[in-house]
């Protein structure tokens, strides 16, 4: 790898679970893979989750070994805090222009000791990883299990006091860093650009984000995770340990007022999972799930749902019309109880969780020339037969970049995208002109080409 150019077999865009798995599957076969991640750490959404359904395995325990494997793989140059700006085709495949954003900390020198973070005087809301529920300093390592363990500085809030410079043992702080540009040539591309959740403040009926104790399910994942902001489940308005928690299903999916007509597939299962975890964390709490219908589509999922009912989680059929709050900031849910002759009731809870849906994380059309389908996810022309093959030869899509899916399906499509990319490279190689045995001059030329 020269300073500003990299030749690889595959460029993987996105360092979440899909991108990491696709990178590892290709790199383990001997292919060179450049993994480009826009955030300062790989791990994606999954590293922030508490546990996976239906096994209730710890997310960190699954994700961190993969993050470490990616970072230490000889065949994977890892480029974090970097963005693909443009891509062009050439005779060998693709040439991508990548912007490497400055951390103002030398990546090769920083050991992640956090001495700088401890002396930095200013706390900022940690919006990137904790939805602003806790803080990080102006100079910070993104989170405990971040890969790489490299600090970065939010220069917009820096007072240039120099305390970090004095505290840094390897002298890694560098305020003179500038954005760098890198050119990556690759034969194939795997898009693993992931998802965003539907905005929890989009619906005025649900308080438009102004009710202190109405949060979304990704925020609840952080409250349930041992590494979360409070280290336990507390409600954000006043730190009360909630006694009554409600989930509002389809609070972002199957909702034409938000322009989301589709089912996001995972919300029923993650709500059931969170309800189970809350039962463990807060054994005395009442947990209610307001739903239109429960969709448990995967292996072991229906049993998981039945187990939740047995545990005492209350499932109430009815679409929540409105959420307000009382004088103690307790959310009040107005709901039509379908199984009680459609009686309209108002129920007060300590905390309400909106089961938000999935939106495409990014539109790759302008950069990669890969069209998106109606909902904004990457168009897959033959999704039953080739679920990772895009309209562009040599470009593959994996995970939620191609549509809402859970972690199990994401990992499966990551393997599929890696297999498709490997097959494409193999076929492309085989299509090169055959060299006649009795033509030593030409054989020499060929060996030169492939040297």
């Amino acid at each position: 790898m020269s300073d500003n150019r990299l030749d690889v077999d595959t460029l993987v865009v996105g360092g979440g679970i899909a991108g990491m798995q696709a990178s590892l599957d290709l790199a383990d076969q001997g292919y060179q893979v450049a993994l480009v991640e826009r955030d300062p750490s790989i791990g994606g959404k999954m590293i922030g989750l508490s546990k996976v359904f239906p096994t209730l395995d710890c997310c960190s325990c699954i994700t961190t070994p993969k993050m470490a494997a990616v970072a230490h793989h000889d065949n994977i140059p890892l480029l974090t805090y970097s963005e693909v700006e443009s891509v062009a085709s050439n005779k060998n495949g693709f040439v991508a222009q990548v912007l490497r954003k400055p951390r103002y900390v030398q990546e090769e020198d920083c050991t992640g000791c956090r001495s700088c973070e401890l002396v930095c005087p200013i706390d900022l809301p940690d919006d990137e990883n904790e939805f602003g529920r806790t803080s990080h300093r102006v100079i910070y390592v993104p989170f405990t299990t971040a890969v790489p363990q490299t600090a970065l500085i939010d220069l917009d809030h820096c007072i240039y006091c120099g305390k970090c410079i004095k505290a840094c043992p390897p002298d890694a702080i560098d305020f003179t860093q500038q954005p760098e540009h890198l050119e990556i040539e690759a034969k194939t591309i795997v898009l693993a650009t992931g998802y965003e959740v539907t905005p929890y403040d989009a619906k005025k009926e649900y308080g438009a984000g102004k009710l202190g104790n109405v949060i979304d399910a990704l925020m609840m994942e952080r409250l349930l995770a041992p590494t979360g902001p409070y280290g336990r489940v507390l409600r954000p308005s006043d730190g009360k340990q909630p006694d009554s928690i409600a989930y509002v299903q389809c609070a972002g999916s199957r909702d034409l007022t938000l322009g989301v007509s589709y089912c996001s597939r995972v919300c029923c299962m993650y709500a059931i999972k969170q309800a189970m975890l809350l039962s463990g964390a807060l054994p005395m709490a009442d947990i209610t799930i307001y739903y239109m219908d429960i969709r448990t589509f995967g292996k072991g999922y229906e049993q998981f749902y039945q187990n939740a009912k047995t545990m005492g989680i209350e499932f109430v059929k009815g679409k929540v019309a409105r959420i307000t709050e009382d004088e103690n900031q307790n959310p009040v849910v107005r709901v039509e109880l379908i199984d009680e002759n459609s009686r309209v009731a108002e129920r007060t809870h300590d905390l309400v969780v909106l089961s938000v849906g999935m939106l495409p994380g990014w539109n790759p059309q302008a950069t990669f020339g890969v069209p998106v389908a109606e909902a904004g996810f990457i168009q897959i022309p033959d999704c039953n037969v080739s679920p990772t093959v895009t309209t562009q030869p040599g470009i593959y899509a994996t995970g939620t970049a191609a549509g809402p899916m859970d972690i199990v399906d994401t990992i499966m499509t990551a393997g599929a995208a890696a297999a498709e990319a490997a097959a494409y490279m193999q076929n492309h190689k085989e299509q090169e002109p055959a060299v006649p045995e009795a033509a030593p001059a030409m054989r020499d030329k060929r060996s030169t080409v492939h040297a």
Binding site: L118, P121, I122, D123, P125, G132, R133, T134, S135, R137, V138, L155, D156, H157, C158, I159, Y160, C161, G162, I165, F175, G212, P229, Y230, G231, R232, L234, P236, S237, D238, G239, K240, Q241
Partner: protein
């Protein structure tokens, strides 16, 4: 400190001063944020001096909104300035106290 180290320290001080000058507007805003944060923390430390307090108790004592108190206490806990001392007698709210580091 050797002459070389003194020279480097001087260069560093000059570099930081130049950066502060170059980004003066943004530095002023960050300094204002720091000052506000220091004042809030001082008030909270004062309210916790008498012993462990819950978030609503701290909010009442300081006049700050309870969500703001929770954020500050969470941030202080993350960096070892505050410790959690179990639930209050109603088992509803956690109690927060100054860490030994701050008491010293």
């Amino acid at each position: 400190m050797t002459a070389k180290e003194r020279d480097e320290a001087k260069k560093q001080t000059e570099m930081l001063a130049a950066l502060r000058k170059q980004h003066s507007d943004q530095v002023k805003q960050a300094q204002a944020l720091l000052k506000e944060q220091q004042n809030v923390r001082k008030t909270l430390r004062g309210a916790m001096k008498a012993g462990p307090r819950t978030v609503p108790q701290l909010a009442e004592a300081t006049g700050l909104p309870s969500a703001e108190v929770l954020w500050q206490v969470t941030a202080m806990k993350k960096y070892g300035l505050v410790i959690e001392e179990g639930l209050n007698e109603d088992y509803e709210y956690y109690l927060y106290a100054l860490s030994e580091e701050v008491k010293r």
